[in-house]
Amino acid sequence: MARLLEKKVSRRHFMGLSSCALATIAIGSQVKVLKALAKDGRIDAPTGLGSKDVYSSCGMCVNKCGFIARVKDGVIQKLDPNPEFFIRSRAMLCARGNAGVKVVYDPDRLKYPLVRVEGSKRGEGKFRRATWEEALDLVAKNMNEIKDKYSRASVMFASTEGTFSEHFFTQLAECYGSPNTLRHPTLCLSSNIQGFGATFGTNPTPDVLNADFIIMSGANRSEALMTPDSIDLLRGDGGKRKLIYLDPRFTKTSAKADEWYPIKPGTDMAFILAMIHVIVTENLQDQAFIDEFTVGFEQLVPHVAPYTPEWAATECEIPAADIRRIAKEFAAAAPRAVYYQGRRSSFMANDTQMRRAMAILNAIVGNWDTKGGLIPNANIELTKHDYLAPWYDEDIPGRLDEGSVTYLSEKDGAWPAFRDRALAADPYPIKGMMVYKQNPLASVPNRAKTLKLMEQMDFICTIDITMSDTAWYSDVVLPEATYLERQDPLEALGGIVPVVAFRQPCIPPMFESKESLWIIQEIAKRLSEEIAAEFDFTMEEHLHHQVKHNPQILEDLRTKGIYYESTEPNYGRTRGTALKTKSGKIEIFSQKYADNGLDPLPVYTRPTAVPSNRYRLLVGRHAYFTHGTTANNPYLHDIMPENTLWLNPVEAQKLGLKNGQMVKVRSAVGEEKLKLEVTQKIRPDSVYMAHGFGVLSKAQTNIYGKGGSDAALIEEKYCPISGNVAMHETFVEILPA
């Protein structure tokens, strides 16, 4: 941290981006920043505002952990974990959560509405400061022009979860009349949701705390943090826990596991099918459970006959004896045994069927809705915000990506399929792009294609708190107040023990940043009276509407930062009730899939072999960063200033490459330069780089020019069932830079 403090505060930087002066980076303490801002006349100097504690929930990643902001003289001094939030976050706040303070007092944050300078090109970063009035008028003008010239469907709306306010943005899309909302699930875990949904009718939560035996495939829980799983994984119940971990890399989770197997990438399904083979061959399944709660077991038995451990060993490079033993141990520990599906992105194009195999393995040992097994999520009801999107008697086509994948979520879309059709204007053009928090340039594989997509837009507007790559390529950039400055609606967080969270402002919004509801309302007002009418409420009214059936919820949130009805799981709620599948039971054999021409039971396909002189590119998350959103945070940047390319020493020697040298990584779609890290922590046939670097935005001054972008390298292969991108189907060449 000393290095940070030595840096001097650059006043010029706090002037915002109005002069495009982006070369200088400066970090200061919060007080220094505030003083600089005060001198600049942009905010009042800190005065004796006293001290207060504010309960709210974190916005640094997907977990929404509870914290208490310690505020003194109008300055957030520190964020402490909220002990009341034990149910979800086990009263913990991670490195990212702690670094949240720097989101507010970050010189790189967005401060004012910005408009791209007339005559400049997108990506040059030439923005001028605009008034809210001008910027919002420009947004509405362009949205209306595109609607008149093409259709309402020609404006796409990209957004992502986590803000608690995203539904206002999708409401705007629906009220405007565009079917084309593009959310994050196909960049995330739509295949997981699909595979488990097809089997159980829902995607359940593994009861990590109470499971005695856990098998984890690549969901690197000690680094890709999920609360409470990441914490519970290490606690276990009385030390009985056994963790088997499969990953081509030696991650932090490998270090914590009882057994780690560097599985050959893309072969998880072979391992799982062989486990099922052992269980049914040796009659270790929970037959009583299967008879009562499932359909299709009789088709499963012959289906897995060829999938012996000996066969699987040649596929996944895990010894047959280990597969056999693990299968027996798993069945013996059941029902307190889970093959953890958890949160993990999709690696291969067959991911939905791999998830089906995982779900079936769990089902046959009877771990459904019982302590230590897979628990369907419970929820606390909030009164839904309802609205009536106007009906337009115009010829508005359906989703652009309609029919592109078997099971398309009409609200989420399928990113790569959508992009391909938009590039071809097939069957109609997409000319406007409204973005809220999402950063497709960093998150959708094949960045060059996303840049082409953006090039063909008549208009791009991004609402964000930071100058993401996508904002950098936009025409209008609107600064949202950060999660520490704004009031957010209540959010019901489902899970084994459900809770309700919300956010309340720790300090007023700084600079000219605004709550997203206000921004969206102002756009709505400018679009039409009809649309504006659906946004005619205040945030306070909205909060009270959400809890009108139980005002205690809001009371608890304001005073404790969390609402819950029980601290204990309620196991077995769904046993004996119809599940949300066609049969109402757990579907081992999926008739629905058969009817759609899909394999009704998961069939293994061998992944494409790594070509000679190439490596399989693996990507992954990191405990310090959330996707592409936090690498520029000054505190977190100090911990990890750039990403590196992991390469096994044997391969490094073959290529004549040395640890620390710069290398070029080339795939079929892009080339990036970054530092080489020669390490035994990776299989010789693969290389790895962390996500979130190699940015295009020069306004991310800490990380611009540092490391490489995985999105620039990954080819956009995707699962034809769910539309989920396949992150590990790209081969790269490594060359000295």
């Binding site: 949701i193 309802d386 999107a389 359906g398 989420d412 949300k580």
Partner: protein, 106 residues
């Protein structure tokens, strides 16, 4: 009450049109969503006489059965056409508890 009677009559006609396999043939689910919210919500919200109704309250087969008989008695206060009924049915069918619409994230 006149409008109510009209809707009941329309629903009765619609019952004949309901297909067990694909809900109402020729139904526009997108318009159905609008019509459902506009017309059905007057009775089917929390605290109102009809109780809360969402597409997820029934399976596809249950919705089809509903439109075969019980929809006749579904007293709404709006006058909507036969086509409107088809649209509403298609919307409810497409978003039923066991529909192909996957769960989402966030």
């Amino acid at each position: 009450m006149k409008r109510l009677a009209k809707v009941i009559a329309i629903l009765s006609i619609a019952a004949f049109c309901a297909s067990a396999a694909v809900a109402a043939e020729g139904g526009n689910a997108k318009k159905g969503k609008y019509l459902f919210k506009k017309n059905c919500k007057s009775c089917h919200v929390e605290g109102a006489e009809g109780g809360v109704v969402t597409p997820m309250k029934k399976t596809q087969a249950q919705w089809d059965r509903f439109f075969e008989d019980k929809a006749k008695g579904c007293a709404t206060k709006a006058g909507i056409s036969e086509q409107d009924i088809k649209d509403v049915q298609q919307y409810l069918f497409d978003h039923a508890a066991d529909s192909d619409q996957p769960e989402t994230c966030g």
